[in-house]
């Protein structure tokens, strides 16, 4: 789970909507192109934005891990399967076979040069697709995100539902570890029935807490007025317009370059 990192970086000061525009523009650009140069350009842009976001390296460890797995698996699977499809008509240069003999249905899983080259393109695309949107939860406080949902005219109860679920997540983990520790105190190994019991207890504990939350909602008369006000507001300023224009320009350049527009 990605947590918000408190900072005063230029990215943190931007309106969340401009970051959503950036994220989707870069993602769309990566989807439409298969050029190494353009994908490298998009990665560089994403990295620059990440540097501007001022997120500590240790917070990025899980992202790097996911990226590493995607790059490794993406390159490997595409190296094997890219030329294996029925509609592939190009050259096939086999480097080596992953399996020493031909297995029925699966084959010998040959690693090809063409597949490796496509694997690199695929991995670069996935790096952009993962890097660009993750900047949003790292640099946007959940309360700002709630304001975005409100500005998009989402119903208040839906906004409350999402807000409460975010508050519930750490509590859910805390409850999980408490129940797990209690089970560990009784037994060393846990079987299927113990896991089911854990799930049941976790559900009941979470729902019991939700009952208390509902009570506090009732005391605050939530739901008796559709209109709600907020102390905090968000506004789409000059910097947001510049950042959004930059994002859309990047998308435009890529679309023109790939011949989509």
């Amino acid at each position: 789970m990605i947590e918000y990192v408190n900072s005063n970086s230029p990215l943190h000061r931007l309106d969340p909507r401009s970051k959503i525009i950036f994220s989707f523009s870069i993602m769309l650009a990566a989807i439409f192109t298969s050029s190494y140069i353009i994908l490298a350009f998009l990665i560089i842009i994403s990295v620059i934005i990440w540097i501007m976001a001022d997120v500590p390296i240790k917070k990025l460890k899980p992202i790097f891990l996911v990226l590493f797995i995607f790059v490794l698996m993406g390159t490997l699977t595409q190296a094997v399967f890219y030329t294996d499809r029925t509609n592939y008509t190009g050259p096939v240069t086999v480097l080596f076979n992953l399996l020493p003999y031909n297995v029925p249905v699966i084959g010998s899983l040959p690693v090809t040069v063409e597949g490796l080259m496509y694997g690199v393109v695929f991995s670069m695309r996935m790096v952009v697709i993962i890097l660009a949107p993750v900047v949003i939860p790292f640099t946007t406080h959940p309360s700002d995100m709630i304001l975005v949902l409100r500005s998009m005219r989402f119903p208040e109860w839906m906004i409350l539902l999402i807000t409460m679920s975010i508050r519930f997540i750490p509590l859910t983990f805390q409850n999980f570890y408490t129940i797990r520790n209690a089970q560990n105190l009784r037994k060393i190994k846990t079987g299927f029935n113990d896991l089911m019991l854990l799930m049941e207890t976790l559900l009941i504990t979470s729902l019991k807490t939700s009952k208390q939350m509902a009570l506090s909602l009732e005391t605050k008369a939530f739901g008796y007025s559709a209109q709600r006000t907020s102390l905090k507001t968000i506004s789409f300023g000059k910097k947001d317009v510049i950042f959004s224009t930059f994002s859309l320009t990047v998308l435009g350049i890529v679309l023109i370059n790939t011949g989509v527009v």
Binding site: I129, S165, M196, M199, L202, L217
Partner: protein, 185 residues
């Protein structure tokens, strides 16, 4: 309270009452937390994730017991995954939660009361698992350009159908017990 006073109190404007909204939030938190199952690796994760997600969806439908419960969870989860949780495999795949929820909602509504039949719950979660994988693979192949052979696609689709159906079965068992426990609190 006389009729005049009762008439002056405005009714709750939302379809779900505050108690149900709070319970939906608890289920949504559990569903968002299931993403961490993937830490166990692709093979183990593929099995456990389906069981837990299927279990949670059916339990939510039984405990809340109101139409559109699953659909609401699907919509809220899509938004949460895109905007807040940060979908690791690209924001587009978050839309799988919405499409699955529409399918499961339609199936669960065919039973009366809502999610009241074991057979429909199991069948619904099996279809949910099937749609989950088809949409996820569809996005990966069509939009991200992933190339996979048919035998691997078949494997990737069949496994979740089984695990989600098991989750649906367990959800039906646990759901009814949890509902009894909650109503007695």
């Amino acid at each position: 309270m006389d009729d005049q006073t009762a008439h002056n109190i405005p009714k709750n404007k939302f379809y779900f009452n505050n108690r149900e909204i709070a319970m939906l939030a608890a289920f949504l938190a559990l569903l968002l937390a299931t993403n961490l199952i993937w830490i166990t690796g692709y093979v183990v994760g593929n099995v456990i994730y389906g069981i837990v997600e299927g279990l949670l969806m059916i339990t939510a439908a039984i405990v809340i017991g109101k139409k559109y419960t699953v659909l609401t969870l699907g919509v809220a989860r899509t938004i949460a995954e895109i905007l807040i949780a940060g979908a690791f495999v690209g924001s587009l795949t978050a839309f799988t939660f919405l499409i699955n929820a529409i399918v499961l909602e339609a199936i669960l509504q065919s039973s009366k009361p809502y999610a009241g039949s074991l057979k429909i719950n199991v069948a619904g979660t099996a279809v949910y698992g099937l749609v989950t994988r088809i949409v996820f693979i569809g996005i990966s192949v069509v939009f991200y350009g992933m190339v996979l052979p048919n035998w691997l696609l078949a494997f990737m689709i069949i496994v979740p159908v089984i695990t989600f159906a098991i989750g649906g079965f367990l959800g039906d068992r646990i759901g009814n017990r949890v509902k009894t426990a909650i109503s007695s609190m």
